[in-house]
Symmetry: C5
Subunit: 168 residues, 5 copies
């Protein structure tokens, strides 16, 4: 269940003072539910208080950047985790959505001055998505766990400097 090459934590994560929002798309419900669940459990286990975890949804992944930015407009939020699951279909929908969302999640971090964690699976098959949601025992771990760690780390390490940078 270990990810080969998975990044090792280099600091003790402490989410006790952080408020984290999760915004997730609703397509591929089984996958999303598992990812969000893994994410929430990990946030709690690294000290984020239950009342400091905000969960909201958007219809599909293309809506994640607006949802994430709207949630980030609340000054009390320290980081947003954007969760979605795109699976290749027969048209080019997958490619154009994936590119637009990947680039805009990156971009809005610099608009809102807060980390937005990229929790978007871009899979070629449903099987790949299930594996990354921890739904196939013994294959891969639930990636929602990584995103929770990432949110707490990024907000702790870079949140203050990033939010107040004069070049914004």
């Amino acid at each position: 269940m270990a990810a080969s090459g998975r990044a090792k934590q280099d600091q003790q994560l402490d989410g006790s003072k952080l408020k984290i929002a999760i915004v997730h798309a609703r397509w591929n419900e089984e996958i999303i539910d598992a990812l969000v669940d893994g994410c929430v459990k990990r946030l709690l286990s690294v000290g984020v208080k239950k009342e400091n975890i905000v969960i909201e949804t958007v219809p599909g992944s293309y809506e994640l950047p607006v949802g994430a930015a709207a949630l980030a407009s609340d000054v009390s939020i320290d980081a947003v985790i954007a969760v979605g699951c795109l699976i290749k279909g027969s048209t080019m929908h997958f490619e154009y959505i994936s590119e637009a969302v990947s680039n805009k999640i990156m971009d809005i971090q610099f608009k809102v001055g807060k980390p937005i964690i990229f929790g978007l699976l871009t899979c070629l098959t449903l099987e790949q998505a299930k594996a990354r949601a921890g739904l196939i025992p013994g294959v891969m771990h639930n990636h929602g766990v990584d995103w929770a760690d990432c949110a707490v780390e990024m907000a702790s390490k870079y949140g203050a400097d990033f939010r107040t940078a004069t070049w914004k």
Copy 2:
């Protein structure tokens, strides 16, 4: 006719206080007409008043971002649905238009401070487009329905926070 994995609505949609603009390209008229028709019917069924649905056209999909932004400049509009249908041809026209439009529809949401719904089909065949417009009975549903739901949801859930965010 159900879409496997289609996102379930997580709130009661209420469009009764919303004003929604639809801007659509005119290429592939049969497809577009079906999509816009499905979109309008759904908007009405979730409570948007007939007089609060504005429909305007642009020549082709490349013009959708400017059309959408111009419509969004009317303060009374809560969201814009941008509808187009691109089908792969023998040159690379399809790829470059699809990419530019997908990215700019995403982007202008942050300029105008309102959700712009991505109603662009990027299909490899006309058959694929017909299926997604609900024109092949029993195969797929009319995607215009999803876009109507999406517009009402995004305007309801995120419209106010997004429009007034201080980081804009």
Copy 3:
């Protein structure tokens, strides 16, 4: 000579009050000349006055965005048509130029507050380009005609709202 699926005009075009600039690259002269010619003739036929058609050139397609933006900086200009013809060669030059130009023509519309019409052919063969310039009788129509219609329509329908939008 009809384009299957070609967009039908949904309004009477009237260019009599408009001033339109054409900026074109000079590579593939035969193609470009035909496209610009088709464009100018159509502008005249929908009422644009001869003295209100400005034509300027740039060396290659990569220069179109700067040329278009410079022309658009003249307040009397209502829209710019950017015409170029890129043909796939043996290096990746075609792909990177096509992408950069397609995205920047899109983008500068929001900088200058005016429609810039995308008149860039991105063809895999010279034959494809000739067909789209109307140079192969009976195959396809001269796409310059579409771009003229597009310029007049976009300037007429959206020009005022787009130019004065407060969100710029």
Copy 4:
């Protein structure tokens, strides 16, 4: 040695009043040297004075946009020619660098208000690069010549309007 389809000059080039900077990457030295040499000779032959040609280097092509922008920050510079040579290797380095540089050279023109000429070869083989640097007699011309012409033309035709455009 003629390029089929090569753009014909439509004006007499006069560089006597212009100051042009060349910034070049240093990878693939033989190619770069030939391109810069062709570029300089042409600048001189269209009237740019020797003392008005500034040459500076960056390590690799990814650094070209910053180098070009820094050079353009000198108000006396009228245009910058960015010269690099990327050749496909076994990783995806070529693709991501090519895309980022092609798009950012385009973009910074609008930041600095001056033409930045795209002198980046994106080749699949060293042979292709040699040909485009004029190093394989009788095959292709030295593309540095085109870039010199382009710089003088763009600065002459569009420099003033572009630099002072109110929409910047």
Copy 5:
């Protein structure tokens, strides 16, 4: 161990007055450790003082732009080296992350007014990454060395002009 075509230094590098930050992702630890090690040793050997080398980490490569920007917000930092190692997997994760990071590292240089060195390996195999980290004797050199040289050169040559450019 020499890189064919590797750029030759065209100036004596002197890092004695510079403060350089390295931000690195933690995935693929063996590769990253070698790259950062090569980078640090080279910085020291071209005169950067040990106390003027700041090292910080982010979880994965997608986080590099925010980490780099946060570090660059410290006025005493002259340049940031962003180090990561992406390896193609079975989903499209590699492609979308690579594109978003390559473009945003490029972009933020213009936000923060400082060079951010692109130290991202985008490899199709682990073997390729090892070679570029200097871990396969006799095959390739440690690319961290190039990035160190690049940081010192870019900060020395362009840092002052770039930071104070009025067009920012």
